[in-house]
């Protein structure tokens, strides 16, 4: 067949059935439809806005807002502009999201590991937690924390005082006793472990653990936190949690400098240790050294500089408390709700990630002579993390997006301030909603881009 004949044959296909022509036709149709929709929307919006006498554009940005916001991380008052209110809202969103992400990660990992625990009761309790939390709407949980738990707290003048100083001394004594008993039980357990009498082991372990639990509880609740609070004044009431407000004195910059130095030092030490291990096989105590550098060094400088922090204690007046740092109940409720909810999801991700590492990996590590601790640290966790991190990031994004539920309990986040109050006052729905969406979209897309980069870096390199 000649070229000309072949060309003739292809040309015989009707245009209607040519996939290329069809594809172009479909796309042209869709494009025309979308253009039509956008055109209609814009013209209608312009007419409607004209009729309702609503301004367009971002002229309102520099207008005085006239409303107050109780929680603002930057200077803000009713005479500030709408633009300023936007930043206040954005910062509040980022504040609750970042604290929430950290706490939810810890809680989620703990519960995820607990679900795989060989301890039956712990595994079952964490299963109940996960099932209940994941199957109840977040909004309902937020309303519960806010309206049913935090709102019924007493009024400021009847604040719950967290110190209970009078309880301090006897509890310190009881705690010390329990701790001693616990230690004794533990040593007994250690000794009994070598022997063959297992009933004694069990009895000792139980005794020791009861005493230790009591001691820990006693120390936590009375000996430690509350005794400290008793001297400094922590109040709980329906206006929130009132803490002493720290303010930096001269010399605090040194502590910050030491912290920065410590971080850099820890990082350098880590890379040095890794290089040395790769070259010689010798290991260095990276964790311990980092702890010393990051926590120890600033602490040392802090005390050497004469504790350059001043605490402003809240004072009781007749009906109210004055001074101090007020943590608003809206913030607390939102934080508790977001953390407990997201932790339920993170727990499942962690569990799935650990289960995804095949048993052969653990067995092979044991066969190489690694003990359970190093097996977990060097073999299981690095492989589990590869499975865990992508869905974990999407949970972080979910938490950030879910923080917009703040509007239901009145926490002044971006949505509450901007899409709520500013939208109501200016009526400029298009600009306000679009800007709010843009903020969330930016956060999401940035995280997604970072994740793609991270995944590419951590991807399994095969053959």
């Amino acid at each position: 067949m000649t070229d000309a004949a072949r060309r003739e044959e292809t040309a015989k296909v009707s245009l209607l059935y040519d996939p290329r022509v069809r594809g172009i036709a479909f796309q042209a149709l869709l494009l025309a439809f979308v253009v039509f929709l956008v055109y209609e929307a814009v013209t209608n919006a312009l007419t409607n806005l004209n009729q309702q006498k609503i301004a367009t554009g971002f002229g309102f940005w520099d207008t005085v807002s006239g409303f107050d916001i109780n929680q603002a991380l930057i200077d803000y008052s009713a005479t500030s502009t709408y633009g300023r209110a936007f930043w206040v809202g954005l910062l509040n969103t980022l504040l609750v999201a970042s604290i929430g992400i950290v706490l939810a990660t810890f809680l989620g990992f703990a519960i995820g590991v607990a679900r795989l625990s060989s301890n039956w009761i712990v595994a079952k309790l964490s299963m109940i937690y996960v099932e209940v939390i994941r199957n109840v709407p977040l909004l309902l949980q937020l309303l519960f924390w806010y309206n049913a738990v935090l709102k019924p707290l007493p009024e400021p003048r009847n604040s719950i005082v967290m110190p209970a100083a009078s309880l301090g001394a006897p509890h310190a004594l009881a705690t010390a006793l329990c701790a001693a008993l616990g230690l004794a039980g533990w040593f007994a357990y250690k000794r009994a472990k070598g022997a063959e009498d297992s009933t004694a082991t069990m009895a000792m372990a139980t005794l020791g653990s009861i005493a230790m639990a009591l001691a820990a509880a006693g120390w936590l609740f009375y000996g430690g936190l509350l005794r400290f609070a008793g001297e400094s004044g922590v109040f709980l009431n329906n206006r929130g949690l009132i803490l002493p407000r720290p303010s930096a004195l001269a010399g605090f910059g040194l502590v910050v400098g030491a912290l920065a130095l410590g971080l850099v030092g820890a990082f350098l030490f880590r890379s040095w240790a890794r290089k040395r291990q790769e070259a010689t096989g010798k290991q260095a105590p990276v964790g311990l050294a980092s702890l010393a550098l990051i926590v120890g060094l600033p602490a040392l400088v802090f005390f050497a500089a004469g504790s350059p922090i001043e605490w402003a204690y809240p004072q009781r007046s007749r009906f109210n408390l004055q001074g101090g740092l007020q943590v608003y109940p809206e913030f607390v409720a939102l934080l508790i709700g977001l953390v407990t909810y997201t932790a339920g999801f993170i727990a499942e991700i962690v569990r799935a990630g650990i289960l995804a590492v095949s048993k052969g990996q653990t067995e092979a590590a044991h066969a190489l002579g690694l003990r359970p601790g190093p097996t977990l640290k060097l073999v299981v966790i690095p492989q589990a993390m590869r499975v865990i991190i992508p869905p974990l990031t999407s949970q972080y994004l979910n938490l950030t997006k879910n923080s917009s539920l703040a509007v239901f309990i009145g926490y002044p986040d971006l949505v509450q301030i901007f899409t709520g109050t500013v939208l109501n006052q200016t009526g400029q729905a298009v600009e306000v909603v679009a800007l709010t969406m843009l903020v969330y979209l930016t956060i999401s897309l940035t995280t997604a881009a970072f994740m793609n980069w991270y995944n590419a870096r951590k991807a399994l390199v095969e053959r």
């Binding site: 625990s117 060989s118 099932e131 909004l139 949505v415």
Partner: protein, 376 residues
């Protein structure tokens, strides 16, 4: 000749373990497997002793089962179940007029029947059920709930949407989301995997945009921007706006789930279908989609769970869903104060839990069933 280090008699047999099986051995292994485990067990038991009796007292023995709000305001009162009992009609129907409530009941019954048909794996003619659910049921919904007749006293008299409320509105929002998101999700997923650049671009933009913003902002957009975008006489109903928002939102999430199914299809299925001479629509309808959708049923159900929980957010644009109905009544002066808030929330939690947990069990069941063929 004797070597000192050579053993002469066999080593003594170790004594048998004291308990190898039975409750004590089980406890030793599962509750006291080590010091740390024992500590956790004791801590957990202390926690249970601390919480469970109080919870039982609150929910059952001290609970108020009948009577007015005054009883629930007493200091020692437990859960205020009489609050739930007396307001139950409002929680289910909102302010929907009394003589027409049978329509809501009928609507729920038909919906329950159709959903059972669809979810039951061995039911006959499930494709017919799907058609009924996606095409006929929305019409039934409109006729039954909204009504068609303007004359007062008619069988299907119009009921304005501002009277709608309670459980049935929550279910309505969920059903609209489900019915719309499945077909729209399929189209978007196909669009995203399409070779045609413009179609692919629009699908990607829509999906990523919707998934990148919180539902609340989508609802705000539907509520405040949608009326601006259409001519004034076409301005959508107050209830319709969040329904559109929820539908678009769930479609984007559904699209990603379905795309997962499409991507998991082996290439041979596409090639086989094309070798048989099937064109694109036929290939998708007869070969690819039935398999891909079946594969992702667990994912689809999980999306429904999320959607059902998210229906609570429509309250932000003034819709009286179930949770909002409870919020209204718990602040009612007759009931406000005392334990009504907590009781209302516990009741709502139980309602949502039953639905969501049921769905998640179903999804697990399907997962096992689907994996059965692949198990060796």
């Amino acid at each position: 000749m004797s070597v000192a280090y050579l053993r002469r008699e066999p080593a003594q047999a170790l004594p048998p373990p004291t308990f190898a099986r039975g409750p004590v051995a089980w406890m030793r292994e599962h509750l006291f497997g080590g010091a740390w485990s024992a500590l956790l067990t004791v801590g957990s038991i202390l926690f249970l002793i601390w919480t469970v009796p109080d919870m039982v007292r609150y929910l059952f023995t001290d609970a108020i089962w009948s009577g007015g709000g005054d009883l629930c305001r007493k200091a020692e009162a437990g859960a205020c179940w009489s609050f739930v009992r007396q307001n139950l009609p409002f929680f289910i129907y909102g302010s929907y007029p009394q003589p027409h409530r049978w329509r809501v009941d009928l609507w729920m019954a038909i919906g329950a029947g159709l959903i059972t048909w669809l979810l039951w794996p061995n039911a006959p003619r499930r494709s017919l059920g799907a058609v009924l659910f996606i095409i006929v049921y929305p019409i039934i919904t409109y006729v039954l709930l909204s009504g068609v007749s303007a004359t007062p006293g008619a069988l299907f008299e119009k009921v304005p949407t501002n009277l709608w409320g309670g459980v049935f509105v929550s279910l309505l929002v969920a059903v609209v989301g489900i019915v719309f998101s499945l077909p729209a999700g399929v189209l978007l997923a196909l669009g995203r995997r399409s070779k045609l650049p413009i179609i692919k671009l629009f699908s990607v933009i829509f999906i990523e945009f919707v998934r990148g913003v919180p539902l609340i902002t989508v609802l705000f957009m539907a509520n405040t921007m949608l009326p601006l975008f259409v001519p004034e006489h076409l301005s959508p109903d107050r209830l319709l706006r969040p329904l559109i928002g929820v539908a678009l939102f769930s479609a984007a999430y559904m699209a990603e789930v379905i795309r997962g199914g499409l991507q998991a299809m082996p290439k041979g299925q596409f090639e086989g279908a094309m070798a048989l001479g099937l064109n694109y629509p036929k290939m998708m309808r007869l070969i690819i989609l039935p398999q891909a959708l079946t594969m992702v049923i667990p994912g689809i159900v999980n999306t429904f769970i999320g959607l059902f929980k998210d229906t609570t957010l429509v309250a932000i644009v003034g819709i009286y869903d179930f949770l909002r109905a409870i919020e209204t009544r718990r602040l009612d002066p007759e009931w406000a104060g005392g334990t009504t808030s907590t009781t209302g929330y516990v009741f709502a939690a139980m309602f949502y839990f039953v639905f969501c947990w049921g769905m998640s069990r179903y999804s697990l069941y399907m997962e096992r069933k689907l994996a059965a063929g692949k198990r060796r």
